[in-house]
Symmetry: D2
Subunit: 382 residues, 4 copies
């Protein structure tokens, strides 16, 4: 028990079921004096709302957050920040026929084996809607990180097998793609950093939706201006914490940092990122280095910005694999509450691919990890 | 700070530097009454020792554990179990010339940016030798899990790009390979489940070693007889905890569960594991299901044994990607403590590929996660 | 940071400022399947509301709780239980003149030294109103404990120096008072277990209030049907956890268990509680003892029901000392935000003595500790 | 489970049984760069060793600590600091006759109800010897605190009912006693701050020992140079954390801060500590106050240096009550493992009063709490 609390110092608890009265979060440990208002949170909540098009559900989720505590006169008090989003527009009746069935690829059955009991309406707390509390908390973490210049950007790197332009100049096997366009990400429905790829992927997804099927995707994330040394060896390393955070997302099936799985196939002489003198324009974080430690730059970033579990001062970079949305209209086999075989074709509003909505969630979880590690790092040295 | 403590109930702290007086662990939360002796721990420690052959270092590590507390008359007392392994045979002088250099691909520089200071001898606590405390603690966790019938097996699934026979019958893209041989794993130097693949990989590794280079690898892990419902939504899900544990290993660069990254390319209709009636011989765990919840079986295990972050009662299955060992004899660029460019060719005893030694470490970390989740699960229902 | 999270398994976070939008709690770790409704929570919230009479403030606090999550069809889901109480009827303007002053005996100045900033309205989160979230969470814990037969009762054992009849038969220095009347506790305004004492104390308090002054008090608490063995040595012992919980209450200045400070003056031969055979009617918990451990009874309970940090199976008994309410109408010296001397006479609605309102808060915190320890105890033995 | 871990950032785990191979601690979270050597730890360990005279046991405990990790070239590395003290000179056979008996006032029976099983030799982990790991860890915390000017001093304030001179100028009911002598504390066997009182108490204790009996005591503690604002509302307040730490000591039965239980009998107008301008020589901590917060002084320190759970910048002051040592030579009743009545007169080496040995333990636990709160406080403000 206790699985809904995240973090050591920037501590977050999320609460809420898909079709209950509301969802939200409480943050305990946000430092005092940070400028914060509801719009900071609304902005990210809007980004996780269903968009138009073939990719996302059309459920009207308004999701206006209310800050219940922890902020006074536009600044954080240092006390717990509670944020509430009321559930509205749920259609619980949609789920009545699922009450006695266990949906394939969903947590229905595993949940019951654990708790003996579940809120079947919309998946209860195993719903993707659960991420709303994470995004609200992550928005606060982002404000904190932004106050230190740290910037988090995620995007859809593949959807339904259609790859977006590739950003990262890993030395093998692939180089960066000039078609990668940061500005394009928030312009298209799939949050892909390339117009042509997005159009192609959307076309494929529309076809998949027409077949009553769904598709998987990958989301990549990059963090800029991260000072070196973040992470707490040996169990709370930067990559360990990010990996734990990402795999806590319902549909995540894998994660890789930097060269990732390709690194498992490579050689040390190619993969090692070799340090070089930092040059005439050292990064901003160089000013914060302990006495006697030189600034450094690197010839490559195969590590994805993490060495020995600590940030290197390069961009942090990782990619998360998400399985296809399990709710599909195609007929599937399952069992009912009596253990008997049944057939099931799920109706209703469901995303064909979660990529665009996963992007702000990946950003939010990244922010929660980093805010925690930034605070923990304050205690590294006497 | 506090990064050396792992787990909520089955809590472990590890300590020790590569060339300090000793390494070890303290386990707080192992239930009382478990039969345990030093040999239970020695067995796994021996498996992580360097073997012969091209793959592993030849440092003579004796690594005999001493149980300092928590066990009386062969049974655990319910009090902290401290285990100490003395360091012997370290040759600190080997590292003298590295004192003022930052090795590429190592944590030397990032460590100094965090702590201002490091024990340069053998990497100090960023050494792979740090995993010794994990393996000792994991051995205790395995005894606890074994007492409940839970069995953990890991193996090298690829080394230097040579793939071992593939175990897992994911519905796409690949089926299980009949050449997969459980008994072979502990027979060959690489811990590969196939004699021919192991021979081939060893050949390639020998060549790589001759070039002064190193290679990456993948380690897969399977857990049998895991009852369903283990995992604590939403942040301490089974896969989240496993991912966090694996990425806390120094060289790990990625992890995937079940179909993993392949799932990101697939369709829901293919990837969803469809439940079917459990049949005449339900698994043992069926007896522990809450009233009203039917036993279930599945047509596939693309999920890798985890749905909604909870174990499904199927085998848990995942694969971890490890980068090549960063210590190579080939000449590399780096900087020194004054920020000046230097060249470096690392001498001394170093593994060419960590695969065989990573296998018991992956098992140990899996055991630590599962022991914790088994205990946490005792509190799920009134 | 992170000071608003309490407990390991039955984990509670409270949030809210006195004059913000609302207060409440989130409980993460309440087992699934517990019958629970809003009235279970309202009941205890009503008991902490200001009563009539000289002892308590007359602020109209309605404090109706709303359960936002974690309960479905009248039973707990095993997911976080969020409870919200809206603030209504606050008169923030009452506090305007206190904005630049630091009230003696209050946290105004210390709070600013920590956070650099405070919500001065009603003390913000250092207000006694903060206990509302604790009482809401404690009410849920009580339902859980009641389902196991565990019963918690607190009462005012002294107010303004007037002692209530004494319950506990400690062998020295005092015996139980036959005037102690359980039924009287909830009948009088002071929650004293004796009508005459309550009348006398109320008389004294009325006089003190007329002088613009305030008074301290003691609250005692007794827990029945607690099975033996609760507590987690060595730092989370039953008494350690209770003491930490009680001293986290704003005005608490001390706690003692059983014979308490009197024990420091006594002899071992008098204070040791000597075990005796349990007799023909062993307590209910005897059925849960591990094999080979005999049931026991005792000739006295000077320990207050805790030995070696573990419950003994006798009644748990302790007393908490509370300082006088610091808000008084009498003129006091203080300083203002510029560090200059000022005089201050606090107007407005303030309790003369917190005893009656402290009673349900002491019960709530006791319940939170015990619910956590009951769950933790499930993992003591293989 | 998990009860042997203490602290959030300056995290300590202790291990070891009285008659096992050894005891010790691991500290995870001590900042890097702190000068530390074994003698820093030995010094406090020697102070908790049995002295001569009537008050303490004569068991020869050498208790030389070995630092196993976390320190390199005389400075802390930022990695876990493990300290081991071997058990030597235990006479396990002394305890053979106690194997089947439950000693009155000891944890023998409660321990068995929890764990089903115990190490009966010397009380196992419920022995006072368990505090050795605490003192070792506390010694490290003291070095950290001393580097910031924070100084902790404890002393015996009463033993066997004989009160030492009283230090603290609480406004009621008692003033400071001019006989209080800091230098005397470490000079006499009882660690009392007054020669005459110590002599008198020792005389009484000798008589009590001759009767085969034992006596209780009180230990007071004062912390100087504590900056204001330490403590984490609402559950990890300074006094809450100290109270939890003190009541985790085996024989502790109560604690009070500042005026303590006397405050429960007093009036607000007398007990409120009134702030006054800090004067021409503000304390050192005044330099660290946030902008706009004035330095303050107070007319009294009835609070014991804590307001709203935060340090006030005045001396922190509290007193702990300890019950008499339960092991006495006088005949007592008890039961055996079969639940039958037995008589028992405990032989062997036992303290008559734990006061002098409790003093360094109280200091150690205070240091552990404060080191943790000092680190946590680094995260209070943006």
């Amino acid at each position: 028990m206790g699985g809904s609390v995240f973090g050591t110092l920037f501590k977050v608890i999320t609460f809420g079921e898909s079709h209950g009265p509301g969802l939200g979060c409480v943050i305990d440990g946000c430092p005092a004096g940070l400028p914060l208002n509801a719009e900071d949170i609304s902005r990210d909540l809007r980004r996780r709302r269903p968009g138009a098009g073939g990719a996302s559900t059309s459920r009207a989720e308004e999701d206006e957050p209310e800050i219940l505590s922890g902020v006074y006169e536009g600044r954080t008090l240092g006390t717990p920040i509670a944020v509430l989003v009321r559930n509205t527009g749920q259609r619980s009746a949609d789920y009545d026929k699922l009450k006695d069935l266990y949906r394939p690829g969903h947590a229905d059955w595993t949940w019951e084996t654990k708790y003996g009991f579940r809120d079947h309406r919309g998946g209860g707390r195993s719903s993707a809607r659960e991420t709303l509390g994470r995004v609200a908390a992550g928005a606060v973490a982002r404000v904190f990180l932004a106050s230190r210049g740290i910037e988090i950007r995620a995007w859809t790197s593949s959807a339904a097998g259609i790859a977006a332009p590739r950003l990262f100049p890993v030395s093998e096997p692939q180089a960066a793609d000039p078609a990668f366009d940061w500005d394009e990400i928030e312009r298209n429905l799939l949050r892909m950093p390339g117009k042509a790829a997005a159009a192609k992927a959307l076309e494929v997804l529309t076809e998949i939706a027409a077949q009553g099927d769904s598709a998987g995707c990958e989301v990549s994330c990059l963090v800029r201006n991260l000072p070196p040394g973040l992470g707490e060896p040996v169990f709370d390393k930067l990559d360990a914490r990010i990996a734990g955070a990402m795999l806590s997302l319902g549909a995540a099936k894998g994660i890789e940092f930097g060269a990732g799985f390709a690194a498992a196939l490579g050689r040390g002489s190619k993969l090692n990122d070799q340090p070089v003198p930092a040059g005439n324009r050292p990064p901003e974080w160089a000013a914060g280095l302990p006495p006697g430690v030189p600034a450094a730059s690197w010839k490559s970033n195969n590590s994805g910005g993490v060495l020995g579990g600590l940030s290197t001062g390069q961009d942090l970079y990782f990619t998360v694999a998400f399985k296809p949305v399990p709710s599909i209209m195609k007929k599937q086999e399952t069992i009912n509450r009596r253990g008997e075989k049944e057939e099931l074709a799920i109706q209703g509003r469901h995303d064909t691919c979660i990529a665009p909505r996963a992007v702000p969630v990946v950003e939010a979880m990244t922010a929660l990890v980093l805010a925690d590690l930034v605070l923990l790092d304050r205690c590294s040295r006497v």
